[in-house]
């Protein structure tokens, strides 16, 4: 349980930058194998592709730091995306976006309140709400793809015109920066960390643990909603199952980034590196013409290995 300070510097660096090492390794390999990889266009491409997942990863990192999970974000993304596209024609984009945001926040708040007030584990609560929200999406969309004329309704700002960094990426980066600041520099962030790291200790220190836990859920919901808008803006349409499955990818990216499953610590930029690693992987598969079936194999190996690079067995 206790370890010596001395000589652990290397280990700590490995911990801190391990995921970057993994990323650099994968990127080097793809660069060596494909001339199309290390181009501005392709890089912008990948940044754009990472925007939605990156946004979700920011929320998930914060949430996991407070000691919870959210499996319902995929459904929430579908719901808010569908709402944005569905409502924009009648009420205009800004209002539709506001409605979607409100819905995301409510979804997050309900999840959080159930977790906190009923004391049920977040995994099972959000497994339930994943299904529940999926049902709502299906009911709202009548099981059909919701398509909007995005460009005519302001959503187009998120469509990617690939000239320079697309707007979605900017949104993601700004939110990531703000949240990094909040987590590392403000009392709210500190209290979130404490609430996840040791709720009893936080409680005894006078911190309103429940509030910070719910807050993280609300943030997650809000970011899922923004993610839904980005998604809708980027694709111009959204099918009722659009987001499903993204929760596992996001959780994988966050864990690859080294955020603790036990709560209490984590870092947003490393989660983003994790997201980017997965994007690069997908990009590399397409550039290098890897057989789809082997893609599954390679992806599995990379996920495990990139964590293994920097995980040292904790000495008890």
């Amino acid at each position: 349980m206790r370890r010596r300070l001395s000589g652990r510097a290397l280990e700590r660096y490995a911990q801190r930058y391990g995921v970057l090492v993994a990323l650099v390794l994968v990127m080097s390999y793809v660069t060596a194998r494909s001339p199309h990889f290390l181009t501005t266009a392709n890089m912008l491409n990948m940044l754009d592709q990472s925007a939605v997942e990156g946004l979700l990863a920011v929320g998930m990192t914060t949430l996991m730091i407070t000691g919870s999970f959210d499996l319902s974000i995929g459904s929430t993304l579908s719901l808010t995306g569908a709402l944005t596209l569905g409502l924009a024609p009648s009420m205009g984009f800004p209002l539709a976006a506001l409605v979607a945001l409100a819905v995301g926040i409510v979804a997050g708040a309900v999840n959080g309140l159930i977790v906190v007030k009923a004391g049920i584990n977040s995994l099972i609560v959000t497994l339930g709400s994943m299904s529940l929200i999926q049902g709502i999406v299906l009911i709202y969309s009548k099981g059909q793809t919701v398509a909007g004329e995005s460009h005519t309704h302001g959503l187009g700002t998120f469509a990617n015109d690939r000239e320079w960094l697309p707007n979605g990426t900017w949104v993601m980066l700004i939110i990531a920066l703000v949240m990094t600041f909040v987590l590392t520099r403000t009392t709210a962030g500190r209290y979130m960390q404490a609430s996840g790291g040791n709720p009893d200790a936080a409680d005894l220190a006078g911190i309103n643990v429940d509030r910070y836990k719910v807050l993280a859920f609300v943030l997650m919901g809000a970011l899922a909603a923004i993610g839904g808008m980005l998604y809708a803006g980027r694709l111009g349409s959204i099918d009722p199952t659009a987001g499903s499955g993204s929760e596992l990818d996001v959780i994988a990216a966050v864990i690859i980034g080294g955020t603790s499953l036990m709560g209490g610590s984590g870092s947003i930029w490393r989660s983003l590196v994790g997201v980017f690693l997965l994007t690069v992987l997908g990009n590399g598969f397409n550039l290098l013409n890897i057989d789809p079936y082997y893609q599954y194999v390679v992806k599995g190996l990379v996920v495990i290995l990139s964590v293994a690079i920097y995980t040292r067995r904790v000495r008890r």
């Binding site: 494909s34 181009t39 266009a41 392709n42 491409n45 694709l235 499955g245 997908g282 397409n286 789809p292």
Partner: protein
């Protein structure tokens, strides 16, 4: 309201790859890199299409990259952008969602890469996307309608029908369910007593069928939205010793369904050769690049065949996935 510009597929649909008429393919063909973005390579039906692509690519000296959309529209958009980044010679897209691919397809076209589509025909828009070489398509509406008509034929005196629908939220689930119901609505004595999801999965479909059998001792026909579910339904009905009273129809023409029809268990299915679609689309693109057929916006529709005991002999080994 689908528009059919030309239907050269008819000629080649029965015999696999046939030498395309009029294309000068005698000289050693030039080598090309094609990228194909499909909705998911873990779906057996898509794999049949892929196999057609691969077979044709091999004969036409095309190196094919197949990107697995994993049933996610955003992944597919990424894949398409990646192909454009890489600068492939042509792109084949099997869209999960027709709207979301608009932007990446436009980007590809802007980069001078020809695009062809394999997908659902009859969405109410033009058959092929503007600017693309063309589209080879199947017709979800047609399939469901055919099975609806078959139902009316099988139940001239009316009866009780159960529907096993697909995974909620997928476009085909909705079409296959709605169009079927609209069709049989023409005959008022046919009653849909149960409409339950089997999620295109065998175990879910079997369980749903078992449960429906409990609730409806007077069932006459089961319509399954695909053959995987239809075959699972047959098993459930057989285990309940009610196969003599209940007819089962499906969609897709899978190997197992063909075998089942041959064995006299399943009643009917609709078949369209996805493999041929793969071949047609490669040929369409190669011809376009070689300049042998420069027509844009071509539209090829796959023929649909209702397979039942009357023609099973002919189709028994044409089952796919």
């Amino acid at each position: 309201s689908s528009s059919k510009n030309s239907t050269p597929a008819d000629s080649s649909s029965d015999s696999g790859v046939s030498t395309p008429s009029g294309s000068g393919a005698a000289a050693p063909a030039k080598h090309y890199n094609f990228g194909a973005s499909v909705i998911g390579t873990a779906f057996p039906a898509v794999v049949s299409f892929d196999n057609g692509l691969k077979a044709a690519a091999a004969t036409q000296n095309v190196t094919l990259t197949i990107a697995d959309g994993g049933a996610k529209a955003d992944k597919q958009v990424n894949d398409l952008h990646d192909f454009t980044s890489r600068g492939v010679d042509a792109i084949i897209v099997n869209p999960l969602d027709s709207v979301s691919i608009e932007a990446p397809v436009k980007a590809a076209l802007a980069a001078g890469i020809p695009v062809a589509e394999f997908g659902q025909i009859g969405k109410g828009t033009d058959c092929a996307y503007p600017g693309t070489v063309g589209s080879v398509g199947y017709d979800e509406n047609g399939w469901a309608k055919k099975e609806g008509e078959e139902t009316m034929k099988l139940l001239p005196n009316g009866g009780n029908v159960a529907i096993l629908s697909g995974l909620a939220g997928l476009a085909s689930t909705k079409i296959r369910d709605d169009v079927y119901k609209q069709t049989i609505a023409a005959q008022s004595n046919i009653k849909v007593v149960a409409d339950q999801p089997g999620d295109f999965a065998a175990d879910k479909a079997r369980a749903a069928m078992e449960n429906i059998l409990q609730a409806h001792p007077d069932l006459d026909l089961v319509y399954a939205a695909d053959d995987t579910m239809a075959v699972a339904a047959v098993q459930a009905i057989k285990a309940a010793h009610r196969l003599d009273k209940i007819k089962v129809i499906g969609i897709g023409g899978s190997k197992a369904a063909m075998a089942s029809i041959k064995a006299g268990e399943m009643t009917a299915t609709v078949w369209s050769s996805l493999e041929v679609a793969g071949q047609d689309i490669i040929k369409m693109l190669v011809d376009h690049i070689n300049g042998t057929n420069t027509a844009m916006g071509q539209c090829i529709q796959l023929p649909q065949v209702l397979v039942d005991s009357s023609n099973i002999a002919e189709y028994a080994d044409k089952g796919q996935f």
